[in-house]
Symmetry: C2
Subunit: 328 residues, 2 copies
């Protein structure tokens, strides 16, 4: 077994998935081609299926060729291939790249449900993680964001999204493909966010390594792991606090026990509120530090004047009950 | 009142310290001169004393002139001045700069106790914080390190070390001193760690601002604040867990309830151990992720073979009791 395949197998033991339907997202680039080839090589015989999924965004003129490349590769490996095509026009508040990503995961979710997949795997590498964490640090991030790309998350009930290559470096991917003599497609997309990412990869990270501290990649990877571990703990605690404080939850409003919330550690109380905001998809973008502090003052204070939080969430305290009502 | 003085007063309200003895560490550089001048300007009349302390490390030939400058400034402001001189040779495992810092805080502690000071204040700015956090991110840091320079810590029982300028930018310091027509000394020290810090300040941060993301300073400051808040919560929880798990603690060994520790969230259990290591000044440098995991396996496992952790700490489990014994 090639060392690269051993590394993938160590991250995601084949016996844990060889009996399941596994969908591999394959763009045709080096990372996803290496993922597909390694999974095809290490899977154990059994009733499981490996399916290569290519989502064509029609963003580039080479899109067709990419799709053909993936279809051929799947055929060579004796693997099912599925092509998803985004025919509607992509746009969104966070730009075309974010819209494409959102559409891609939407497709993967739908395909996974249609085909009864247990796992959807993507080929994000340690280099993607390093670049993501560095980008977020510079742009501004909470500790939650500092944990970077998650190794695993639930895509849908019973369907897990996994990244078995998240601890593997891009250089290992390239060495593996060279050893196999396996070709791949070059991603020529160069929209703004990809352009920025390329500058982090090609200019800033080499500068940091060579002129500042050579261990910067490991530093960022370890920071992400530490942040993820801390995050998991904090979110579990926050979720338990929210459960304890929740008095009523309807489509119209949410009522919390202000006394229980107000006697919890302030940090945790805020995290519980963040969780509530997330669960209801209330806008968090404009919830500045000052707004959270105003909410905390309402929760713990004696003179409760109701007020409106960003996104039209009315906060009102009556006795020891805090009620949050989306107005629109 | 000058806007700079207002900002310092907002961070550290004069009524909270004007009755106390306050020691200000003054190198003679811009930051500490601005701190001393602003505190002298905003203090309220009362029984309190303001004392300027200059610690001379004899590291630079200009040391004498720095000391004279601080003494004159204190005299002009009608403030007591104290000079501490490090006459012994500075050296240490982490270099001369770290040894000097350690000696400086040792002096401040001693002087504070001798003069019955309630507060010792230093002039660290938001720029120091930004540079510290960036340096740690590149070098590698835990989440604890990510919180950067603490705003306050206990220097000794009843003596607090505070940084009232930690949210103030260096540019504000410079504008204040220019408005006052106040001169200051230039720190010419250029040892290795200072040299690296200067490169972060003069080369890397300007590059990040101009060629990547202009908000990088705010991003790093907010990250430090978020990390500090999370840190405080986690440490409180870890301390409570440690209290609950502690069965015996003597000079020879520490015995913990392995069952209670092993049923806590793994993240918190590890943090409780980190705290224990800190309290006993056991070496944490070599406690890698693998070593912590080995300890966790011992705590939660059924087949307890005693083993030795870095720094000669023997870990042994008998029944549900985990005993840690420094061997040397």
């Amino acid at each position: 077994m090639h060392p690269f395949e051993k590394a993938v197998a160590a991250n995601w033991p084949p016996h844990s998935w060889s009996d399941c339907t596994v969908m591999v997202a394959v763009s045709g680039g080096a990372d996803s081609v290496a993922l597909l080839r390694s999974l095809a090589a290490i899977r154990e015989s059994g009733p499981g299926r490996l399916i290569a999924v290519h989502v064509d965004h029609n963003l580039r003129k080479e899109s067709d060729t990419d799709a053909q490349f993936v279809a051929q590769l799947a055929q060579q490996l004796g693997i099912e291939g599925i092509l998803g095509r985004v025919d509607f026009e992509l746009s969104g508040p966070d730009g075309i790249e974010a819209a494409a990503r959102s559409a891609r995961y939407g497709f993967l979710r739908t395909f996974a449900m249609d085909h009864g997949a247990r796992y959807v795997v993507t080929a994000h590498t340690a280099d993607d993680q390093i670049e993501t964490v560095l980008h977020r640090i510079l742009r501004g991030t909470s500790l939650a964001g500092l944990s970077g790309i998650p190794r695993a998350r639930e895509l849908e009930l019973g369907i897990s999204l996994l990244r078995p290559m998240l601890s593997i470096r891009r250089s290992e991917v390239e060495a593996y493909l060279a050893d196999l003599g396996q070709t791949f497609r070059h991603d020529e997309t160069n929209d703004e966010s990809r352009f920025f990412r390329n500058r982090l990869r090609n200019d800033l990270l080499p500068l940091l390594r060579d002129a500042y501290l050579p261990q910067v990649d490991q530093s960022l990877l370890r920071l992400a792991i530490g942040a993820a571990e801390c995050r998991e703990y904090v979110e579990t605690q926050a979720s338990q606090l929210l459960d304890v404080c929740l008095m009523r939850e309807t489509d119209e409003s949410v009522t919390l026990d202000a006394k229980k919330l107000g006697t919890a550690p302030p940090f945790l109380a805020k995290e519980a509120c963040v969780l509530l905001w997330k669960q209801h998809a209330w806008p968090r973008q404009s919830m500045s530090r000052e707004k959270w502090e105003a909410l905390w003052t309402l929760i713990t204070g004696d003179s409760p004047a109701p007020f409106e939080l960003p996104g039209g969430i009315r906060a009102e305290k009556k006795g020891e009950q805090l009620t949050l009502t989306p107005l629109e």
